[in-house]
Symmetry: C2
Subunit: 455 residues, 2 copies
């Protein structure tokens, strides 16, 4: 049985196994899910041994464990490292899910569950592709190492250290990551750019405790109003981020790069429809694809102050909180941006409140050098599986550890994503295309065939 | 036994009864407390009969019931109507209470509990004052009607209608309300001004569901950023409300009125210390007492958007919500202000989001005509109980139904408060001075003595 035949034969079973994986609520951000997160790691390691890998370990870190599995059947040969993560985003707000986030359900060809596409489904298709080879020929053309972590959604606080402490063991010729999307349905993509991230929390404190807004309103500075004023001053009227120095290191797109983005088959109205927003917006003077891939941004991710329940409560809140993140592009340094942000926000704080700014996590932006044997094999494999050559795209999201792999292991990183626009990663009703799950496994299986030396 | 002796003799029992009242979590804003709210009404009606009132009824409304009790021992005589409310504000945030909000606890001469001062303690001292007369002489110099409602904290939606449908039965010569504070510890006050209220909710909707801030940030308008921008534009740089037309009907203070406020023994630093804010603020060109009593304001009461839990979640929220209330002064019409606010906020909404504005509740500001027999009796009674003549003060809060009483029943309203600045009404750790509870009951008992015709 060829790997492709093997995969076609086991479609049902593979989906069932993935559903089992998805039922484990491995939410890394929440301490109440610590045990679930460990359980997901252990479950995955068992499946890796079953798939025919030589070893699979659950390795403790200061936080959630790393799953490291190896197949080293080509002594002295080349090595591919597959990276992914088994942790997921929190599922809240729960009442916006059509089906329960940890009870996978297929509707309309989509597998709905938290983590379906980000990243359990994409990790699992890699494992199934490797299994498809090992089950038949017991052989792969290269050594394969799986490194699947449990802290990607909280900024991978222990991964860089792990890479640095294990450079010998992890030495490889290429890193393969599937944690991105295709360009559109039917159009596979290799992602050649990722944005960086600086994620901040701003806490504004006014009075010591909540006050009656009638008895004190007008004489006590309101921290929620103050926070709104601070946030409002983070953009100018043209949609540019108004933090002094924010754009100093931004690499401008060349004329060729702008043209390449314009040549992609892209319809802004489709994006708008997908989001349901009444209109798109953003920085003046740039197209949507430029805004998403090549320009830095600033977004409020969360706001909380005072009384937010049913009805009216006339409270002058003691404090107000915002979570605010910035997406960064080359060559912005996230630590510099964190500092510029914090300094600016503190300067904006009005008399009558105190403001604390904390950096929650960050990472640098990244650009690929799209070359090398794995890159070429991936290109051919995607074309074979999807019937169309992959486009090169820039992704607005961040995978902060891509740079860490490149810098620490010195290996090129190849990002092949099988998600789709509108997949609701990080949002309610996350889904992965069932077809892409199967076709993705087939593409990865073919990638290993493409790596086989001629003759 | 004189009424004062009776009250002194029953101090312990009166406090215990009040504590029982306070243990009933009659939170009118929350549907889960509907039964508790009814229970508070029934409990109070029973105590009223025990106190010697001739009748006490729990009367259904479209919402929470009204408790109406009467003592009509002076046929053809004058009638005093005592108004108060047995409902309380929500207790959230619960983790900021030192002792549980519905487990009354005395610390440092303060009775801590939700509703202690607003308004259960102040209602109950009125009942005890009447009981002190009826227990001894079986007689009061005037007829007394208690009207205690259960919806004051949600804007008294059914009270005006009740007054209008029962004008004959409620006909009275004066309305007595204790739901305000003294000027300071040891300085009793009659409140001669209240601010009005327009309480709004603003809901900003961007995309249909939450999105990944990396994949969409920069091209989809963020409703939380948009809301912050809207709120920021509701004040100008001098702390004035920037809604066009907002100040059109504001009655300016006369030179005499400003002087009278300046003559009050008031220390702004004491207020600042009480609140714990690093500095006071507000509208330029006005003193703190002017800002609190004679100037309209706008405060955010609540903010909610996106992810507000532990850690970092990179979400571009689908929606953002603010509760925003304005305190009004004569002659602002709250319905006009609601409309000006809604129109302005809708005008401020940027392209890319939709904005809904809802008026949650409102009421007009009020100024007293400080004259008449009950007003005079109150002045003498307060001086006798506290050893100092009451000052006339303007309160920043709102009791929207004061105007309804005045207009519907045509009777003067006398506001005698026994709360104190810093009492945390509407906030965690609400308290009432135990001494003021007892002394307040004594003052009210004396008020009835002062009403007794000479000879």
């Amino acid at each position: 049985m060829s790997p492709t035949e093997y995969l076609n034969h086991h479609r049902e079973r593979n989906l069932e196994e993935l559903s089992h994986f998805l039922r484990i609520p491995s939410v890394s951000a929440k301490s109440e899910h610590r045990e679930d997160t460990r359980r997901a790691a252990e479950w995955l390691a068992e499946r890796m041994l079953e798939a025919g890998l030589h070893s699979a370990e659950v390795i403790a870190t200061g936080g959630h464990p790393i799953v490291l599995a190896e197949w080293r059947g080509v002594p002295g040969g080349e090595t591919v490292l597959v990276y992914g993560h088994y942790d997921v985003q929190p599922a809240e707000p729960l009442d916006e899910w059509t089906s329960s986030p940890f009870e996978p359900e297929i509707r309309d060809g989509k597998l709905f569950a938290r983590g379906s596409v980000d990243d359990k489904g994409q990790v699992y298709l890699h494992l199934k592709a490797v299994e498809a080879h090992l089950a038949g020929t017991k052989q792969l053309p290269v050594n394969v190492v799986f490194l699947v972590e449990g802290e990607e959604e909280v900024g991978s606080p222990h991964l860089a250290e792990f890479l640095e402490s294990n450079t010998e063991r992890l030495r490889c010729d290429a890193v393969l990551i599937s944690d991105t999307t295709m360009f559109a349905e039917g159009i596979p993509a290799i992602t050649v750019g990722l944005r960086g991230l600086a994620y901040m929390e701003v806490r504004v404190q006014g009075p010591t405790g909540d006050l009656h807004s009638g008895s004190y309103g007008g004489a006590v500075v309101n921290p929620a109003n103050a926070l709104a004023k601070i946030i409002a001053q983070l953009h100018d009227d043209r949609g540019r981020v108004a933090i002094p120095g924010f754009y100093n290191e931004v690499r401008q797109l060349s004329g060729d790069e702008r043209q390449a983005l314009r040549d992609l088959p892209y319809d802004e109205e489709t994006l708008r429809e997908q989001t349901g927003a009444p209109a798109l917006g953003g920085e003046a003077g740039f197209t949507v694809l430029e805004r998403l891939g090549a320009r830095p941004t600033l977004d409020v991710n969360g706001l909380l102050s005072g009384y937010t329940g049913e009805g009216a409560k006339t409270v002058l809140p003691a404090r107000a909180m915002a979570k605010i993140s910035m997406r960064l592009v080359p060559d912005q340094d996230y630590r510099t941006i964190e500092k510029l942000f914090a300094d600016h926000v503190r300067r904006l704080a009005p008399v009558g409140v105190t403001v604390e700014v904390e950096a929650l996590h960050g990472g640098h932006a990244w650009r690929a050098q799209p070359e090398g044997p794995v890159f070429d094999a991936a290109t051919r494999a995607l074309e074979s599986a999807f019937g169309r050559a992959p486009v090169h795209m820039r992704e607005g999201g961040s995978i902060p550890i891509v740079r860490a792999f490149q810098n620490t292991l010195g290996a090129p990183v190849v990002l092949i994503g099988f998600g789709l626009p509108g997949e609701n990663a990080h949002a309610p009703n996350e889904w992965m295309s069932v077809d892409n799950f199967h076709r993705g496994a087939e593409a990865i299986a073919r990638l290993y065939e493409e790596l086989r030396p001629a003759g």
